[in-house]
Amino acid sequence: MKEFKYIGKNTDKRDALSLATGQPMFVDDISLPNMLQVKFLYSTYAHAIIEDIDTTEAENYPGVKMVLTYKNTPHIIHTTAGQGWPEPSPYDTYMFNKKVRFVGDRVAAVAAETEEEAAEAIKLIKVKYRVLPAVLDMKDAMKEGAPIIHDEEEIKGAYDPKHNLAAHIFVKAGDIEKGFKESDVIVEETFETQYAQHCPIEPHITITYLDEYGRIVIRTSTQVPFHVRRIVAQALNIPVQKIRVIKPRIGGGFGTKQEIILEEVCAYITMKTGRPARALFSREEEFISSRTRHPMQVNVKIGAKKDGTFNAIKMYVLSNTGAYGTHGLTVASNAGSKTLPLYNKAPNVEFTADVVYTNLPVSGAYRGYGATQGYAALEQAVDEVAYKLKMDPLKIRKKNHIRSGETSPIFRALGEGREGVTQYIQSCALDELIDKGAKEIGWFDKFGKPKRKGNKVRGVGMSIHMQGSGIPLIDMGAATLKMNEDGSFNLTYGGTDLGTGLDTVAAQIVAETLGIKPEQVIVYASDTDLTPFDVGAYASSGTFVSGGAVLNAAMKVREQIFDVAKEMFGEFDTKNFVLENGKVISKATGKSVTLSEIAYHTLYVKNQHQIAATGSFVSPYSPPPFAAHFVEIEVDEETGIITPIKYVAAVDCGVPINPELVRGQIIGAIVNGLGYALTEEYKFTDSGRMVNPNFMEYKIPSARDIPEIVTIINETYEPTGPYGAKSVAEININGPIPAIGNALYNALGIRLHQTPYTPERVLEAIEAKKLLDKGKVSEPIDPEQE
């Protein structure tokens, strides 16, 4: 493998010091004169028709400039999903609507001089509701006679709205029934996952204003600036060219900012009043009215031969998309498409999903994007097969997992809302990941030998995972690179760094390609007026897609630089040219010229032109990163509390362009996943209102909750990625639920079928087990040393 100068090296995250010293970098760090403040009124009912809404008093309240309802806003059906066009999510949403579909659905907005005035005026809006029966359990949604949530005629792209079915998926390979018939053991398990929220510490925030030409500028905390521009244009029925979207630094997204939520409202207010407008979600609004993770019920049935080879895998997913179908189809697809190919040894595979509307908060994109829910079920079912065959869970996985050079029919069958693209795996270190992780956790000393000390029992569990790197043949990114007199370069690209460090990775790619230092790359990203297009930050696409575009731009610029150098050297070809330390050197003649000299030459001296290029990237490949997760937990049988003691993640993300940033992505995802596995959960009243929309009652991990976390980055080279890189952002959120679930079984012989694994649920399962057998823990299995 070629030795790199900046790839695989830790260069400081380029915005880190500015952030650590509190520079004004976020959306809300500016304050514009005459800015209107926007507040919202939300439905208090899960399902109702607004029979009348009286805004007179609110409009007359001091400071109020505008009150928005369905009566005075554009009535254009669209999706809030910030996805590529045409969006695979149904058009089922209006800016404001006469019908409200969950507690937290938007009824009205007030724009006033101050936040206090807007908040007061909100209270003066009188709404007369006709309350409708509601669907508050996803299992009731498709029942005969269930209330129809989307009965609007204009709805487009939903599978069967009359039966609350936003989407339906069915794909298969081989003959599933024959596959089970020819299996020696069959395991069937059903798991249910809960509502959870991304909890970016910076909530949704948008500021809009008119520029000096009357165009609308949207400064917003988004993962998808270009989709925001397109969808706001659609929702307000104005041309794309009237809108400029700027993404400054973003205070975390994790998927919830892959949505158009505040942007169209603020833009409309600015359009109508000519004044700047600002809307900022409170923490409560972030919980009840932004987006959540799709709760799912996942049924997995695996048939295996005696030797452990899987013969058939069937997965059924019931996914709750909440009141609107944003990301409904694609998240459910990913529950299968990002999990089933992992076990490609099974010739018979079937995947079915029903994505249902309910009168509950709106689900959307969330790190892991369905794979997390799929793995919660699949990886526990795999352990069950291992137990049935008295086989080490590591061995059964090694027998069945996908390898380099192999494919799975699921890649083609199951895409993002349409047929997928055949993928052959070109880099996969799963065997090494399993071995290294097992060694680090002490698997062979601990598995099957739960350690008891008083009420506390320790056990180990593991799981393996894959994800993707962008969406093949759909996700496109572009980058422009231009040369300056001092040999520095401006990189403008649409890639959307939401805290991940993508801008730093982009600079490293440019530096490596052009033989300069990363500090010589001035990065400006995600401004729809100034940077080329990029679909944005989702689907683990940053390094692979946006980084790929940056590499393509840099390669073109490199050619241009060589052409000028050739002329300056008086040589005939460039094949012996190298770029290093800010110079072009001809290895043939020993001549050299600095990039600064080349820049001066081309800008001022001869045959003047701008050295610059735009590169785009779209790929038929979406190389999966792989991971093996291991956890040791301690369960207190008296309190039911699970404490993770040590967590090990061995990860193959190709070449880690910046290992420290990669490590940050791994640990961050694990800790987010630990919260999802152990504590984070929406609680609802029986009328569908969330009762715990704050960090007191919705517990996300804090510093003292963190176990020892060991990351093992196992480098491979992925030929389809920039400098051998694959993605890493999402995959590691998939481990905590199944790994802890498997550890719990290892420790106490209990398996929980509902997340999170709260003390109450653990105690309940312990009690249930006591009834079944008198205190005998799981049957020990001898781990087989490989």
């Binding site: 510490i201 975390g252 694990i670 960090f695």
Partner: protein, 155 residues
Amino acid sequence: MKVHYTINGEKKIFEIKPGEVLLDVLRRNGYSEVKGNCYMGTCGACTVLIDGVPHTSCTILAAKVDNKSITTIKGVGTLQHPHPLQKAFVEKGAVQCGFCTPGAILSAYALLKENPNPTDEEIKKALDGNVCRCTGYVQQVEAVKFSIKLLKEEK
């Protein structure tokens, strides 16, 4: 009413509204480095030091801080002259989105003033009120430890 603060060493007089919390007064007067809006003291992004002690500025009345000294992240170090803690957070990968970073650094700063050689547990305890959704805290704890080394070198 008027309040007198010393912010990052500068004397300031602000007009405040009854019931207003410190966070809103600071942001309204240009201290945008103070983040946060949970108004329950649960996320810690709005942490400032009041007479050297970390406090969530969203849960303290602006009037209550009259005549006190307030330190924001800009009082710890600047882009031109960063504090070792800030340098360490950068070097150890402890900054991702950076929204919680000022609060976390202020909590660590107060800890190190009191206890220049904290254990891992003490560092975690000091950071426990500063919720971070990006980093998973591991690199933050490493950064605080690394800053101790940098601080010693600086002396």
